[in-house]
Symmetry: C2
Subunit: 339 residues, 2 copies
DNA sequence: CTGAAAGCGCTTACAG
DNA sequence: CTGAAAGCGCTTACAG
């Protein structure tokens, strides 16, 4: 495989001149540049990435560090990985996928061995131990998720609180006075998943504010037990005329549960949901809903990370950036107007 | 950040001796080794990965190169990525996730810039252009998928043909004489996805062999149109007493479609399916089925790739390894015994 | 505008 | 068993 010395010899110039055309940081006389470019093409030369990384102290790689808690809905993950990869590539970066169970150890490894220029942390929980691990280093990082305390780190996420309020108001404005609130399993609350807590708190708060009765239904973590839990909740809905769902597994299983209970939407019961866009698409869910926006979130995450890398440092700053992406609600007519 | 020279100085030895303890390839006197290890701990030293990669010509990174055709079922992807990452880590490798649309360009880039020591190709189709791209280089590669012609490359996959035969026989042995075969969309066949073709061909062949009438139902690629297609097929099932499903989206939507059609399983109709394990778990699918085994497949893929990397070459070999993982059928009682 | 030299942080024969 | 030296393939001041 050709190296820069081969190219220099072939073009009759020095290695530094070749390097100048490779980096594009220095002006090179057109004739010379052309000779060099021909030599590069002839020899099928490409820059050795590792050597460049060593010389520049830039790996051009970002780590995507994914904590798998087990409680969350697996199918929702891939779209974010793909979107992050796409966003990173558009900035010239590759993505290192880091899913090992020992996330704290992984962060130390990435930082100490200088494997990446920055990291994205996925599946953020409140009191996430990964944030403390980061504070030992000077590694640029962005949280994909919004914990109560970001510990001075940049963070980006869909605005789950605003989404919750919008969905609650959507029901309220159509005359609904009582609704079931199908939530994630208690295990998810115990883990303090940031998006779970933020949606939950805002939904309850907004419901109180507008005077909607919200009856929380905690789902079992075990998918096997979910169908019965859903049909049970529907059967005992009492005065509730609507259901608001924040639990992807429940959103996926709700159509069957509604069938099972013999309920038509929106004639017998109204439904609003927030769920993975991919899930909604694959299962053709027809609920009025807020869907995740992996592309938008990933773009914002990578943009923020690029800025942090360019600034030449990670860690706690005064100029922390928190970005909450406004939710969009898609009206699919699954809410009956009772007014 | 400390480097190897700092450690050498701190321990009062030469850099090469430090390197010897780092690589573990040379014997170092216990006292010396201990002094060095103390120095390493004191200085919080870790090997700079890029420098080691340059010196050894080993990146300790494998590329996972994922073609997203769009037709396949998205939620099935993540478990494979995670499993590949886990398998690779257990061999000391990290995973670079490569999802860009221009997969051929990506392969050239990875090879020429020496970014990875090897690649795993995911979502293999017959006549996959990525295989030709690989032949331009000397990059170790393993296909996760089994095309009709692997062009001399190692390949690993679940044995979809055997799975098809097992499911067909499962119906036949229980006295079913006619079944609907809910298949992937024609678009998937046109793309020639390797697992789609292999399951399909084997299912039809085995059905012919045992004398089971199999009526292919082509699903629409658009999930929106899938529910109606399924209920329609069920309504017009005629003499068919069973359904065999190879289409994850259809497996996911079938429970609702069965409800819609007022059919009980297995009383009114029997069902067997092959689908993503993750999907089956998340949706608590209760069909007798073969499920994907991302962990097993990934282990085999990485093991094969490691052997290929150790051999010091990629490309076409005489010693090609093809590994088909035996399917396991889980009997969930969704097939009625008609004998 | 171009080149010679030093340096990035390691590993690895090769002497001793 | 340990060390001095060369080398991996780049980039980047610094001269000219």
């Amino acid at each position: 495989m050709a190296n820069i010395a081969d190219v220099a010899r072939e073009a009759g110039v020095s290695r530094s001149t070749v390097s100048s055309v490779l980096t594009g940081k220095k002006f090179v006389r057109p004739e010379t540049r052309e000779r060099i470019e021909e030599a590069i093409a002839r020899l099928q030369f490409s820059v050795n990435h590792g050597a460049r990384a060593l010389a520049t102290s830039r790996t051009m790689i970002v780590g995507v560090v994914v904590q798998l808690h087990g409680g969350e809905f697996g199918p929702a993950l891939a779209p974010f990985l793909v979107a992050l990869s796409d966003s990173a590539r558009s900035e010239g970066y590759d993505v290192l996928l880091v899913t090992e169970a020992d996330q704290v150890g992984a962060i130390h490894r990435l930082a100490l061995e200088r494997r990446v220029d920055g990291v994205v942390l996925f599946n953020i929980v409140d009191e996430d131990p990964r944030l403390a691990a980061l504070s030992d280093h000077d590694l640029p990082a962005v949280l994909l998720g919004m914990p109560a305390d970001s510990q001075g780190l940049d963070a980006v996420d869909l605005d789950f609180a605003k989404a919750a309020r919008a969905l609650v108001r959507h029901l309220d404005e159509r005359g609904h006075a009582e609704a079931l609130f199908v939530r994630w399993a208690p295990e998810m609350f115990a883990q303090r998943n940031s998006f779970v807590l933020r949606f939950n708190d805002a939904a309850l708060d907004e419901a109180r504010r507008v005077g909607l009765r919200l009856r929380p239904i905690d789902c079992p973590a075990d998918p096997e037990r979910l169908p019965d839990a859903l049909t049970g909740a529907l059967a005992e809905r009492g005065a509730a005329t609507a259901v608001i769902v924040h639990n992807d597994a429940a959103s996926a299983l709700l159509p069957a549960a509604l069938h099972e209970a013999g309920l038509q939407v929106p004639e017998d019961v109204s439904v609003v949901s927030i769920h993975s866009a991919e899930l909604g698409r694959a299962l053709a869910l027809r609920f009025t809903s807020v869907e995740t926006v992996p592309g938008e979130v990933s773009n914002a995450v990578i943009r923020t990370l690029m800025a942090r890398i360019a600034a030449g440092h990670g860690g706690t700053q005064e100029d922390v950036r928190h970005e909450l992406i406004a939710p969009r609600i898609t009206d699919r007519g699954s809410v009956r107007d009772l007014t």
